[in-house]
Symmetry: D2
Subunit: 309 residues, 4 copies
């Protein structure tokens, strides 16, 4: 299995973890979901992310999910696995297990306790040492972690830690951070790494214009991200925006903290991608008002896409 | 000057505070901005909110801004003033000053130190006592304050404190909270108060469908909020969404934390509403990439509005 | 193995996890540490707490540590195991494993994301359901978790969840919370549960006066806590304070966030309880100044204890 | 009035603000409190600190308190005034007012929103620019502000901003930070500034050993801090610890977050220093158990001091 590198680009979909209504992992849906993502044009998949209900899985289940997905993609598609943990030993253990199983790399977010520049850097220095030669994705997601990582610290990590090959950029939206990182690598001050963007894709066209290589996030319509990236790569920026705008009302709706994953799973089940929209406890529940909103937004989205052709 | 009541509805625009490039308050632009907001259909204005750079003003300046706006609107439009402060004495002092000057009510957000239900309730109980018979807006904005206010606590405040006449709803987006509050007042369990929504308006059509009375937020195109509310009130929900969708790409862009106010002031200056886009220090600066994004988004927005008719 | 109940009292020492200088678990030191704690009069032990470097252990190591300690105490002493985790599945898995192995109960702290009263209650309701009939300790430690739990919420949990048998009271110092909980159970409004106090014991005499049943915390001289509890139980409150005061300068010094565990392990190694003071990475290092402070404080403590007789 | 400089040393007592039971500022008690602090050996006073109920004062009251104290000390004792504010304009306004009135310097803590090293530095850079040539104290109090300031950032501030003449060191307890700052100035890498320590004095002997110049904090027995500093300066470190240990049980008790100020004011009133222990709302209330604890601790303290001679 090839590893992720600084050259990674395109859309790495943050996969959900399908459950049965009884709360068991639904492996058949896991397979169909993988097929769906690949069919829609995903360049890679990311498992056990924050939106993958990773903390609700036992260690054994986490590994089983990764192995099932690896078997399904059959070595053709890079699989990144979230290994963030309160301590380094479980991170190292899971990292080693998934790399042995054939993953292409891992993703690490800092714990909320690190604050100063040196603390952030030291955290990743130790993480990189624990992970050995496994390539890793630096997840920069202040809204969820509470950790602000400056551009200078990212460059310091990139320069000192050669296994840091990708930034999952989720600093809402941090467009100028992308620009500053690209300017630093253009000036030769830092290695150029892959930058894939998060936040449910709701800044994707602008992120691509600033130098991002694609997206690593989730949305019930991953084809939006794939098509926007394609149009952008083809130089048709207005077309990229047209596509994006058609999906934006729903993408914005799905981005609601707390409720977003329920919306995403509901739509994936509605599209036939997974058998059930069930989340493991604790989970909220979509209200009739939420369901009505979703139906309206989907209908409007379909009309707009039809108009676009 | 009439006071705000539970019946308040429509769009209360969160006003910016215009400065000259040298950092002085630009009173002429304050006047033209007020005229612009009223001309676009604002039902009221809210001053000294978080997006009004209130903490950058001295006490004397705050009062001067309020008085200038009150003089400009001439008693026809209700003016709400943000009086949140680290302690109750400054809150009471400013509240009393602005009400004496003719404001229609004040707005209060809890400090980040309150956490439990009783702490939140007690905070507003004391605030209401300090404010006397001044009607106040409860600002529920967890993303900024870190304080989660449950529906039960809001209802407890509404029932116990008759001067709480409005909720500035900004619990991203908390659509089901609106529904729960309306259900409680429909069942007679709580007084029905005005609910005006925030978050830059990016959930406005759905909020109106759940029972909100309008919006209290800022956006460089306040006419979007006014027109969406009008179409919704007229029963044309699809038209409300059509209008909303045309503005959403830019509204989303303007909602960026940290950078959003610079974007808003830039566009207001570009529209001729205020003379300068200057913020008081500390302030970031829009990059060439930001400016290019804004131009593209405005051009696209104008095309879509033209198509809509 | 008997389970913990509402009647638990005395000192449950929060055990450290001994490592070799190379970072391996030092099982021989684990044995000698257990012997030491029991010899000093511990009524129970608590493993895998925040001060036990629990997040630095893999799942397999965590279980191995618990089993080794259970084997050493041989069923005579109740062992409580911290099972707090970002999600319920790992909590349930570890809880089930350690109870099968013979633990007397588990300890649960809420994640920092829960805020409102209902959120706190719901968290423990779900946790209790996941843990089945396992008795659990509610850990109330706002300084570490950021979660404020009101007395009313604790009583609600105690009334609704019969498996909640103990409070680890660590709300710095929350003496009046102890009083309020005892008053509620005295009035028959809530079940009387065991209250064991934390914070390194630095409020222990006052906590006992308010109705606490003992301590659940760590200190390099656990005999302090045991002797203070004994003197208090014997009605000699002044003697309890005399003993406490002799140890307080060092207890205060050991309570330093971040550095405290290094100090504790250093002294335990100095006392011959464990072979090495090593912590697993990430770990700070005691400076020459720290070591000089510790030597001075120990010498002074020994003089005062000698004077006390 | 002389200004504070890098050579400031001794004890700057953080003054409380006395109120009448009806909530008015008690200026007579303010005078007697000032006399008391000076009589006990204070080298300076700090007003409008976090423990001075500063946010509960209006702007006019804040200035009146400062002027009254300045009149009372008559130019012989340096008065530092806390000017931390959510924005720079109020900070500048209050700073300018109190310096005009004769204060010796001001104190600034960063807002909780600054996180990265550059953000912390920039905050102080702007604050220093706003304050002009007013000497200022950098307050480093992570437990209250949530802001971690690394030693490197402090040195950067000290080097770039000549008006930063003092550190109020309150990084619980950060003994090694003192050592690192002193080592840096010894090596000529940074200007040597005054370091006065906080945290209610509960690490004072150790802080002095690491190179601190004294204390800037509050305690109902400021003579403890003065005497500890004197004994330490005279080279009698054991005597410094003996004195410290006699007061430590009460100092620890007074340090309770939330309740500490009530305890301090209660004891100051009990000692006849101020007429009433009243706090302005919001304020808790000492329970009978708290009062009994305090009486016991004072009686024990008096016995120990009598033994010490």
């Amino acid at each position: 299995m090839p590893l992720i590198t600084e050259a990674a680009a395109g859309v790495f979909v943050i996969a959900v973890t399908p459950f049965t209504p009884q709360g068991a992992i639904d492996y058949a849906s896991l397979d169909s979901m993988v097929d769906f993502y690949l069919e829609k044009g995903a360049s890679g998949l990311t498992l056990l992310g924050m939106m993958g209900e990773a903390p609700k899985l036992t260690g054994a289940e986490s590994l089983a999910v990764v192995k099932r997905v690896l078997a399904r993609v059959g070595g053709t598609t890079p699989i990144v696995v979230g290994v963030s943990a309160p301590g380094f030993a479980p991170m190292q253990e899971l990292g080693s297990q998934v790399m042995d199983a054939g993953a292409a790399g891992v993703m690490v977010a800092p714990p909320s306790s690190v604050r100063t520049d040196d603390q952030v850097y030291s955290y990743f220095e130790t993480a990189a040492a624990m992970l050995g030669d496994t390539p890793f994705v630096l997840q920069d997601y202040p809204l969820a972690t509470g950790v602000q990582i400056s551009t200078a610290v990212i460059n310091r990590i990139v320069q000192a830690l050669p296994t840091c090959v990708m930034l999952k950029h989720e600093d809402w939206p941090g467009l100028n951070k992308i620009g500053a990182l690209r300017a630093a690598s253009d000036r030769g001050e830092a290695r150029r790494i892959s930058i894939l963007c998060g936040n449910g894709g709701i800044f994707l066209p602008e992120e691509l214009s600033r130098g991002a290589d694609g997206a690593m996030t989730g949305f019930a319509y991953p084809e939006m991200m794939v098509e926007v990236c394609k149009a952008h790569a083809a130089g048709d920026v207005e077309r990229a925006h047209d596509l994006f705008d058609a999906y934006l009302p729903l993408a914005r709706y799905e981005l609601q903290p707390g409720l977003g994953l329920q919306i995403r799973k509901h739509i994936l089940a509605r599209r036939g991608v997974i058998a059930s929209a069930a989340l493991r406890a604790p989970a909220g529940r979509l209200s009739p008002g939420d369901l009505a909103d979703i139906e309206r937004l989907i209908a409007r989205q379909e009309r707009k896409l039809a108009e676009l052709g």
